[in-house]
């Protein structure tokens, strides 16, 4: 869908997903690295059979072409400017001020390339009192508020073990870039898209980031659930081989799921058939006014916990589908790797790396039909350092002599 558009991707590990999202939608994305390689090539994990090769970098450069260009040298900057003549988007994630030092900041480039959409990804934003703060996944998650809400109540708050914050920011960078493209359709002008990872992280709070301003109490961390005004709500339950996410509650939004759960408990003989007469959609209101037994629902929750404890994750998933329950297994990485659902949807894609290895990747995030036709899956493996130098620079009109000279002087 985005095949008419070219993206010059100057990001490092902090923004590398953004360009990939556009590449997966068909754009020509050219990852530009310094001749020594991006710092992203040093981010863990590394391939078990190739310990020098970053899986992180491979994961988010799949689908792109890759070139090198030394932006610290005038010749390299000239080369980038030539490249930008052909580009619609530039995406960057460098420390605040670095692009300005190079004369490659938005203001400088907008004058020369008024149609260029220039997207910047940073921890806190391009300007403001914290713009120069040193960012990190953990600090961003703290500043956006989700970190304080996550974890066991008797230990320090805890993050997700695969860092997430820059991924959220990169996702917003892709969306913001596309909004700027539509603005360009209207105005003919490019503009600066300024993404703050702190703001992106705030989205991971279910709008609780607004709690104080609405006059509500903050949710507090509680393992497998949440505490609201000191009241703990469990969101998970133990099963025979691990855990499930289990939400059971009365009320108009979820009460019918509780009714379904009662049906299952009656069917397996764990609960008395008379309970089928109870309607948990309306139960809470009746319990509050003395027309239903307030001890009934907690008792059913206990029965449910006992019933699931002796079954496996897989059994509970099957039961959940059969009875339409509000529960799901807590899958680990091994489970995902062997998931029949992901297998059925051809989620895993094998790509042949330049050295001939076949490597399995998660496929693009969406399954898209254009005019009824299934879209091709992006088959380009992650580029090796400078892999497309000759190809891209030749497209720009450089001769092989020019390219050899750039190479020998270290510009590429």
């Amino acid at each position: 869908m985005l095949s008419p558009y070219r993206i010059i991707d100057l990001t490092d590990e902090r923004g590398v997903l953004a360009g990939q999202m556009l590449a997966d939608l068909g754009a020509d994305v050219i990852q530009v690295e310094p001749p020594t390689g991006s710092t992203g090539r040093g981010i863990a994990p590394f391939f078990a059979d190739h310990p020098g090769e970053s899986i992180y970098w491979a994961a988010y450069t799949r689908g792109k072409r890759g070139i090198t260009c030394d932006l610290s040298a005038p010749r390299g900057r000239d080369l980038l400017l030539r490249l930008l003549e052909t580009a619609d988007f530039l995406i960057e994630s460098s420390d605040i001020g670095v692009m300005a030092e190079l004369g490659l900041d938005y203001e400088a480039l907008h004058e020369r390339f008024p149609k260029l959409i220039y997207t910047s990804i940073s921890a806190f934003g391009q300007t403001g009192p914290k713009a120069h703060y040193v960012g990190s996944d953990l600090a961003i998650w703290a500043a956006g508020t989700p970190l304080l809400m996550s974890g066991d109540d008797d230990r320090a708050p805890v993050r997700i073990s695969q860092p997430q914050a820059w991924g959220h920011a990169s996702g917003d960078a892709a969306g913001g870039s596309m909004l700027a493209l539509h603005a360009r359709h209207q105005s003919g002008r490019g503009q600066h898209v300024d993404i703050s990872a702190q703001v992106s992280a705030a989205q991971a709070t279910l709008a609780q980031v607004l709690a104080h301003q609405l006059g509500a109490a903050d949710p507090e961390r509680y393992g497998g659930g949440v505490k609201i005004r000191g009241q703990a709500i469990r969101g998970t339950a133990d099963v025979a081989d691990g855990y499930i996410v289990l939400l059971m509650g009365p009320g108009p939004a979820v009460g019918h799921f509780a009714n379904h759960a009662v049906k299952w408990l009656v069917d397996i003989g764990a609960a008395e058939p008379e309970l089928l007469d109870e309607d948990f959609v309306t139960y809470a209101d009746r319990a509050a006014t003395g027309k239903a037994d307030p001890a009934l629902f907690p008792r059913i929750q206990d029965i449910m916990r006992d019933a699931v404890a002796t079954r496996t994750k897989q059994q509970m998933l099957d039961i959940s589908i059969e009875y339409d329950l509000l529960l799901a297994p807590v899958l680990d990485i091994v489970d995902l790797g062997n998931s029949p659902q992901l297998g059925h949807r051809s989620f895993w894609q094998e790509l042949e790396h330049t050295d001939g290895r076949r490597v399995t990747y998660p496929g693009p995030p969406l399954n898209i039909l254009v005019d009824g036709e299934q879209q091709g899956i992006c088959r380009r493996p992650p580029p090796e350092l400078g892999q497309h130098n000759a190809e891209v620079y030749t497209e720009l009109g450089l001769s092989s002599v020019d390219i050899d000279r750039l190479r020998s002087e270290g510009t590429i």
């Binding site: 892709a174 006059g215 799901a328 039909l369």
Partner: protein, 406 residues
């Protein structure tokens, strides 16, 4: 006849938003912010879960009081429509023909039973763009799994990966798959719209919200699928940063719990932190890793006698990544979020005023303000039926009598 156009890059784009709770509505919210006309359709029979979870205005639960519903639906027009009755289905078809984009998040197959799925709507409008967003996707053995992003978090591997290695998973906060999914959907819908301007072709997008979240686990998934170890939860440890964690501080009022997050990525950062601690600044990453319990204890001792805000400022001044674990009050008072005008106050007919988050992108040339707060239940029924579909008052009356609207 139509609703008044919005202002911004998407002015004139028409969206029929049947999605619910968070993952889908967040997409429509972003497009409404930038000028699209978004009609949010709700079932009169089953209340949107977002309306019954907080944060509530003044801690008062109620379907018109939810800050969550308000945050993901600001700027939209509201219609209640019962798709189970023929009159409701007819209105839906007519609105789908009006729309450029239809977003929905029913369990796979539900719309097909009413002949309202993409294959049927495409016959009415070949250039339609449609997003169908579910936890696990439209096909596959588990496509009937329904539920919230909390179930999604379980099935996307995120729930298992947040917590301590010696304990059950603590999980992330809330329905995690609702957070990454809208980013992928929004980007693709805007690409589809661009594609249609050029080609006239329609687009169907099948989103599995879990697969969106799994993009943010891609390194761990690739590692395991290619002979490496399966990542397990590891508290706040990081394979390449040490020290790296959350350390206790005091609140200004002397209450105990307050925390600061700290991440040391380089030897140079360690040496500057060590100066503050009076520790050995020459330790390499491996040496710091070996002495992590000792370093963590020293750090906790140092932070424990300080305020989180002061630790944050001292460490950042020394070039070390740190931030207090902000409460939502801290966020309300955060000068950086204020600088970005992140919290937007909107006049509200029931609450006087409400507050929503601003867009997550600052566009230098096209700044925005949400045009109006989220619709109240069925707030714009008459307006939409009259101005968009041209129904007479008598026809609207008949429709209401048939039960299609309530």
């Amino acid at each position: 006849m139509t609703l008044p156009d919005g202002v911004g890059p998407l002015a004139g784009v028409k969206i029929l938003d049947l999605s619910w709770i968070v993952a889908g509505p967040t997409v429509g919210r972003a497009m409404a912010d930038y000028g699209a006309t978004v009609i949010r359709v709700e079932s009169p029979a089953r209340v949107d879960t977002a309306r019954v979870v907080g944060p509530f205005h003044g801690e008062e639960p109620g379907v018109e009081n939810s800050g969550l519903y308000g945050n993901v639906n600001a700027g939209k027009w509201g219609l209640t429509l019962d798709l189970r009755v023929p009159g409701g289905q007819d209105i839906f078809r007519r609105l789908a023909v009006w729309a450029d984009i239809v977003c929905e998040s029913f369990t796979a197959g539900v719309l097909a039973r009413w002949q309202l799925d993409y294959s049927h709507l495409r016959e009415l409008k070949p250039e339609l763009i449609m997003l169908s967003s579910t936890l696990l996707g439209q096909n596959g053995p588990y496509n009937q799994v329904s539920g919230f992003g909390s179930q999604g978090a379980g099935m996307a591997g995120i729930q298992d990966l947040a917590g301590w290695p010696d304990r059950a998973p603590a999980g992330p906060f809330g329905p995690y798959t609702d957070y990454p999914a809208p980013r992928f959907a929004l980007t693709a819908l805007l690409a589809a719209l661009d594609h249609r301007y050029r080609t006239g072709e329609g687009v169907f997008i099948d989103q599995a919200q879990a697969e969106g979240s799994m993009q943010l686990l891609a390194p761990a998934l690739i590692d395991y699928k290619n002979g490496g170890p399966a990542l397990e939860r590891r508290g706040n440890d990081d394979p390449q940063m040490c020290p790296h964690g959350v350390y206790p501080c005091f609140l200004p009022d002397g209450r105990e719990e307050s925390w600061v997050a700290l991440a040391v990525a380089t030897d140079e950062q360690w040496s500057r932190l060590a100066d503050l601690l009076g520790a050995d600044g020459s330790l390499s990453f491996e040496q710091r890793r070996q002495r992590q319990p000792e370093i963590d204890a020293a750090l906790s001792g140092w932070t424990s006698s300080r305020l989180a805000a002061a630790v944050e400022e001292t460490l950042q001044a020394a070039g070390v990544s740190a931030h207090r674990l902000s409460t939502t009050e801290d966020a309300a008072n955060d000068p950086q979020l204020a600088h970005r005008n992140h919290f937007r106050r909107l006049p509200h007919s029931l609450h006087g005023e409400t507050v929503v988050e601003g867009p997550r992108y600052i566009l230098s040339d096209t700044p925005i303000q949400p045009a109006r707060p989220a619709p109240q239940y069925g707030e714009h029924n008459v307006l939409i039926l009259k101005d968009v579909l041209g129904l007479s008052e008598a026809e609207i009356g008949e429709l209401a009598a048939s039960g299609a609207l309530s």
